[in-house]
Amino acid sequence: MAGQLEKVTLGKSITNGLRKAMEADPKVVLIGEDIGKLGGVFRITEGLQKDFGEDRVIDSPLAESGIVGTAVGMALRGYRPVCEIQFDGFVYPAFDQIVSQVAKMHARALGAVKIPMVIRIPFGGGIGSPEHHSESPEAYFAHTAGLRVVACSNPEDAHWMIQQAVACDDPVIFFEPKRRYHDRAEYDTTATTAPRGLFEANVLREGTDVTLLGYGPVVKTMLESAAAAEAEGTSIEVIDLRSLSPLPIDTIVESVRKTGRLVVVQEASSFLGMASEISAQVTEQCFYELEAPVIRVAGANIPYPPSRMEEEFLPDLDRILDGVDRALAY
């Protein structure tokens, strides 16, 4: 049977994915600030409270530790809560609950309880917002054992990944590239199996000279960079990391063994960011294959700047190509 191709935004793909997850399992509940009537500040939960009721789409009081902490309790009662954190910079009040409870409770119980919980976080910059609305806090979570951390970059992935995250029996921190919420792509919205596992990387474009790796909002920029480089005769392999923890290291290593060069892109500050870990692991595994050190194209080690300066902060096409050039210069 032919699928139904539809052009859907990334945001709406998450909405649809959440709806499917809620239809599939009555234990799935959503909790967060303004996610009911308003549908969330990004409208990701739009229409869901109307259809599933106030017990399944819960407008929470204004307290993030409360959102995550009560969700832990609901998980213990047999629910599968999906928390919405309104913006990246507002997840920190919940940090203690996430690091000391969400991440560790399964281990504490020697497996006797599960915390099948998703924490959705719109992340990254580029939307012209004031302080705390443009951060990339993924490293804090990826460093924390007991959590799984993923980031989607395109509508079809978003649609599937959110469903897979909800189905996962472990806690998943789910990063959404907020400046890509309105990006559209066509895909089969009636398909019944996911194109790939939640914790797999995706080679979006094959190439031979350099591997370009990133996740979330920068993936689109990476693809544009690869296209531009092709025009100049450089063949770039582009990988969407998708899973930050566990790290799909085999896919990365396989690509680096082929190209000999790796450029990792992220909006987060470079110091102790994902690119550093990837650099360490890839260098360990490909010590003799690497033609150049792993090049990190990342945010500066400063607080996210005022929005009128953010273009100078964010990795753009030029900075990515500069990174590629630096890798090729070895």
């Binding site: 308003l38 500040v41 910079g89 302080e131």
Partner: protein, 384 residues
């Protein structure tokens, strides 16, 4: 259960929009001056001149707000959080402060900043995206805007603990005794930080007045999501006084805030004021309130407009004539034009300044990254 507790819990919660019998009011929505045995004294000395200047402040900050909104719509600001409807709460409380008192605002206290003497441009910087704050808090004893809900409640408490450690409480010397005022919203009352601030402030007798503008909404969530009982009663769980004031009544707000600041300065802090008011506009320009609230509610609150009622008083009591009101409107026009001019000409700082104030002391990474950035930029110049 003790009968007293049960009785208290059965006190009826006031209907939406009605502040209930506990609410302090000195000026009715109709512009009638009403008397209150405890608070009349705080407004007794106000001259007609004072009241006219209150009026002027209210009009100017409403205009500031309208201009902020317009500038956002025209793309000059990224976002604007409107204070429409909350003018009296802000001017009334702000005017009750002494210069050496210290203010911790949220992101919505443009009016308080204005009466503190802040350059009105200041509020715009953050929302224009040219800085994340950018003013010196010590200049007007007005701290930077805090966006993370509730975080400033602890800063205010710590600052007030410092005031007490300095010995600037209860000396009886008005130039010395210092109070701290901390603004936050109804939604913020749910945050751990705000409640921890209550604990610390009570434990250390900190000279801080918590000023909660209950504008009935936290984005799309009504105050009933945050609390079952009137918010001013939160304080009694922590052992300090709470009072509800009509936040649309500038006289009552001014009086109650003065009283509470005095108490704090005398060493009887902390205290909580709930200014019962209403957010007439959207949460910010990014918000669409039609999704979650009925316009009838907004209409009802129009009858309680904070400016109109002072205007009525001034007019009825013959304290201001038509010419005065016209003059203020003209001043507001002028003010708005300057504000707009200042905003659109506000410059974005050069990229390399990003590294300038991350640390107070030298930091090798800042130097290295700034140098790399400049070299990278220069490489484009060369290429051209």
């Amino acid at each position: 259960m003790s009968d007293k507790v049960v009785a208290e819990l059965q006190e009826p919660t006031p209907a939406v929009g009605d502040g209930g019998p506990d609410m302090i009011q000195l000026l009715t929505p109709e512009g009638q001056r009403v008397s209150h045995p405890d608070y009349d004294k705080y407004v007794a000395d106000l001259t007609p001149e004072d009241l006219r200047s209150f009026y002027r402040d209210l009009v100017l900050i409403r205009r500031l707000d309208a201009e902020g909104y317009a500038l956002q719509r025209q793309g000059e600001l990224g976002l604007w959080p409107s204070l429409l409807g909350q003018e009296a709460a802000q001017v009334g409380s702000g005017r009750a402060l002494r210069p050496h008192d210290f203010v911790f605002p949220t992101y919505r206290e443009h009016g308080v900043g204005f009466v503190r003497g802040m350059d009105p441009q200041s509020s715009l910087q953050l929302f224009r995206g040219v800085s994340q704050g950018g003013w010196d808090p010590q200049e007007n004893n007005f701290h930077l805007y805090t966006i993370v809900i509730g975080a400033q409640a602890l800063h205010a408490t710590g600052y007030a603990m410092g005031v007490r450690m300095d010995g600037n409480v209860g000396t009886g010397d008005p130039d010395r005794d210092t109070a701290v005022i901390c603004y936050f919203g109804d939604g913020a009352s749910s945050q751990g930080d705000v409640n921890e601030a209550f604990v610390y402030a009570a434990s250390f007798d900190a000279p801080v007045v918590f000023f909660c503008q209950n504008n009935q909404w936290a984005i799309s969530e009504p105050v009933e999501k945050q609390t079952r009982i009137p918010l001013f009663q939160r304080a009694r769980g922590f052992g300090f006084p709470g009072v509800r004031v009509d936040g649309n009544d500038i006289l009552a707000t001014y009086a109650v805030t003065q009283h509470c600041l005095d108490e704090a300065r005398n060493g009887n802090g902390p205290l909580l004021i709930e200014a019962y008011t209403y957010r007439m506009g959207a949460h910010t320009t990014a918000d669409d309130p039609t999704k979650y609230r009925v316009s009838a509610e907004v209409e009802e609150w129009k009858f309680r407009d904070p400016i109109l009622r002072l205007k009525t008083l001034l007019a009825h009591e013959g304290m201001a004539d038509e010419a005065f009101f016209v003059r203020i409107d003209e001043e507001a026009d002028q003010f708005a034009a300057e504000l707009r001019e200042g905003c659109v000409t506000m410059e974005t700082m050069a990229g390399e300044t990003m590294w300038d104030h991350v640390y107070a002391e030298d930091h090798p990474v800042m130097e290295a990254e700034r140098a790399a950035y400049l070299a990278y930029k220069a490489s484009f110049e060369e290429a051209n």
